[in-house]
Amino acid sequence: MTRLDPQPAERIDRSKPVTFKFDGKDVPAFAGDTVASALIAADQKILQRSFKYHRPRGEIGGTAGGGNALVQIGARPSVRAAAEQVTNGLVVEHQNAWPSLDFDIMRATDKFGGPFTPVGFYYKTFIRPRSFWPLYEKVLRSAAGLGKLPKRQEEREWETEYRRRHCDVLVIGGGEAGLSAALQAAELGADVVLCEEDVEVGGARLADGGHEAVRALAAKAAAAGVEILTGAAALGYFDGLVPVWQGDTLHQVRARRHVAATGAIEQPLVFPDNDLPGIMLASGALRLAAVYGVAVGTDAVVAGVGDEALESALGLHAAGIKVHAVADLRADALERPAAQKLKEAGIEVLAGMTVVRASGNKALKSVKLAKIDGSGLAIAGSEREIACDLLGVSGGFVPASSLLLQAGAKATFDAPSGRFLAGALPENVHAAGAVAGDPADQAGLAGTIAGASAALALGFGSDADRAALSSAEAELKQAEHAPQAATPAYARDGRKGGKAFVDLDEDVTVKDVRRAADEGYDGIELSKRYTTVTMGPTQGRYSQLPAIRALADHTDVPVGDIGLTTARPPWTTVPLGALAGRPFEAAKRSALHSRHRDLGATVKWAGDWRRAYDYGDATAEALAVQDTAGIIDVSTLGKFVLSGPGAGELLDRLYPNVMSNLKPGRIRYGVLLSEMGRITDDGTVCRLDDDTFYITTTSAGAAGAERWFSWWLADWDVDARLTDVTQGLGAINLAGPNAREILSRVTDLDCSNEGFKYLDGKQAKIAGVDCLMLRIGFVGEVGYEIHCAAPHAGHVWDALTEAGADLGLRPFGLEPQRVLRLQKQHVLIGQDTDSEATPYNSGLSWMVKLDKPQDFIGRWALEYDADSEAADQLVGFTVPGGQVPTEGAVVAVDGVAAGQVTSSRHSPKLNKSIGMATVPTSLAKEGATITISDEGKTFDATVTLKAFYDPEGSVLRS
């Protein structure tokens, strides 16, 4: 156990022991521990194996926001050990090592890999032969990976709650600045949410002696009404929408103003073997000691480039860890006040020195400190080897400005502090604390200013509050950062050996960045893509500056000119399951849906509807429609009421044929065209009275047709009104030789062929329900499309079913309907037509009335088209050999693709293979032979221009 004596700021409760399992072994911990703090406290130095080389790795960040060590927890792979609180019985396992963390076979890639190590190796090697990729992929995936996905789907399912939260101000980051901002905004009356990635708010203050004050501040903010979310990571900034992931909940926060108080992230130093377990950010080691009472090591050395390292060393010393020496690269380090304090504590401060090598096998044993020259090379004679098991490193800071940059701020390099600061902020975004470059002692004031600015901008507060803000702004001192040493890209001794990592996530070394630059990837964005530097699970938190420095050094470009890589969401890794949404599909179902289910229908998606595909026997269903009678639920058709004095005029402007002269009670078929004369949809128009038309469209095209109609209505000055009644009406098509008899049994209407002609639309009651009946014949038999209010559709369906029971009536699904309509060569929009289809090449020329006076959409293009013959035609075909080609099969002419099969089926009634295809116009002649090439087989088909069944339409009209 490396638990320190109780620390003043610690959040663990030593009176509440907790036990969890790590790789099968019991690990003792305390309530309040994270998996990382508990494992380190239990002397588990190696927490994971690295991504590529399988090197032993510990924790570098030590806090939730920073945690880099990933573990498997139950079915959840790649959980950050520092973000997960322990509970009794939690089952934790290591990742990416076999057979064990302590001994990993794949480490060979590191020790003996030789040619396997360079960057780009995978790209260059595994592309040949192409066909081997699936095999390569399998092997590579298992060699380099992060955790295991459970094999069974049920174990993979992720139960996430989604919660939309609107607020006035969202504060991201719960350090002193963030808490101050939230408190101030709430006190001014704003509705405030604060999210903090760590398991506790307080930020840096928790570990620097300010814990009592910052915890009191948090309590005050909560009392003022701030909703504080802890363990809650802001994933990104999406035009003001910020998803905040908190365990099982994804809060989708929409605030009017945002305050980023996300702090700054300490950066590692780069030297040989800088990844040994025991090497941590100085601030991370301090945080573990102060907040969790955990000593990462008992004998420490600290190496840094600024005051923060000195402060961390003091903190570690105060926590009870023996600090042997502090190397500060600044030549004048001894003049710093903190250096004086260290001296008083008996700790040696080595000015102008830094760490040039770490040694140890699976954990840190010693470090070599030295003065270095301009290239980072140790100056002979200055070297000192110090035994230690903890090295705290501090290579400067990067403001955690990712969200600010996503919001539109541009990063600018501030040379004196060595920091990339977010420049001018968008209007709705504020920043405070370290992320904004505010010094630590100004964080509270800066936060208060940001909170007040946000709330006042939203109209909260009074003139007095405004005045208070002005004076606070005057009080805020300009940031004065202690000078920093120029940090070397790569400090090293003269010895060979040892990898120096710029990115621990992705196992990218200094050498990799240099090699990439030599190969031409010499900008940071190119380097990132080629080497994957900064692209790992920590999103570049600990590799940003090292990567920039390595590139700057090698290409002789100043660090400030290299710039940051583009900040992209997610800022914190998040399981895909948390983003996947609840498992519900926005499906539409007809009012008859439960009847289809009861009848044993095969239900499939059709657009956004769930539809009955068949009832178990598509062939028998199709034959029933032709021999006796069938009913099909066509409630999914688009249905619209168009009314007003201008209704007829509008239709004439949207359809290529004339609708305004349609007589009440009559129906006409029509297609909708684009400006280029392309067919976008089809359907029927029934005139109900002088000013009212009832329009149907295809099921899939209903939404598009609604938008099309309403758009032109908005743009044109036509006195007509459209109402979409698609979902309000049930529609049932009753068809077949017995359809008339069945219908006459349930209605008083005269159903004779004289009384109810083909293309008549009649209104009457069926079984007591008001219905509109359209006599149309999509399936080729005498048919009645019956429309009624959806709440009565079930009643009508039942009445028809009952009336037809002794006349062979059976329900039929979409598939038999497709066969039936194909027998009639009725074009199915979207199936037989594509974006090039016009009435002229789809067998619908008869519909285009260029002689009508009205302009209509598509007319111009059709007029131009009419001047020349279409290159292709949609035609029917039969296959003498009986083969049923795949839909999409090629129509070949002289071995070259010249068209394609759009529909094909075996017709049970005709006992023939029938279909439709686009063919060159020269072949669009009755009886012409076309060649179909289908998945390697070639066979002939015969063009048939007329319907395969009832070509004269006498059945339809009988």
């Binding site: 519900f584 539409k588 009421v641 009212t692 979409d724 009644v725 007591g768 329900v769 209010a789 009643h795």
Partner: protein, 233 residues
Amino acid sequence: MSTAFLNTATAGPAAQSPFSAALAQAGAKFQSRDGWEIATSFGDPAAEEQACATTVGWADVSHLGKLEIQGSAATLAGFHAAVGVTAPQAGIVAHGGSNRWLQLTPERAIVLCEPGDLPGLRETIGGAGVDLTSSLAGVTVIGPLARDTFSRFCALDLRERELAIDGLRPGSVARMPGLLLREGPERFTVLFGSAYAAYFWEVLSDAGSRLGGRPVGSEALNTAISKETQTNA
């Protein structure tokens, strides 16, 4: 009338709610009222009232009469008196007796009324309008966690400050086009395309039951509404 086939209110059989299959599966007890099969309870009225009072309850109100009226602003204004409203505004429900006028665009409104009132109402405005009763399903969500329930699947801002009682918000609800009304301090009604009923029932049950809520019948809903009125009075 040339569009009788659009009308839900008929002398014929009782209308079936678009939720009827889902309601039956959830154990609803039905009674015929105002020409509709209405779920009066799910067998445990006390528990249903309790849910409305302490967590959240949701009830099918698809039987509400809904009449769409379109026309120029002047035409619509001509109907105000008949419906009983004066100068309705977008975003706010205007009351005229038991009628409610929802102004959606300057040239389009939906009038909500008691199920049996629609034919009469239609007559008073000269037969204008299209009956959308069957096009729009409706659910009332009531209880202290009603707003939380919506927050699980709806991006609309339902904080009281933004949406007062009688506020109307057309917008996406559970990825469907919806019309959301705040009817009480803890009571919301959402209207949406009736073909989505089974889907929305799933979504609502998933969200609401995780918050301790349950579906409730018309009896528990009416009790909860009457209690709400008393509290306010």
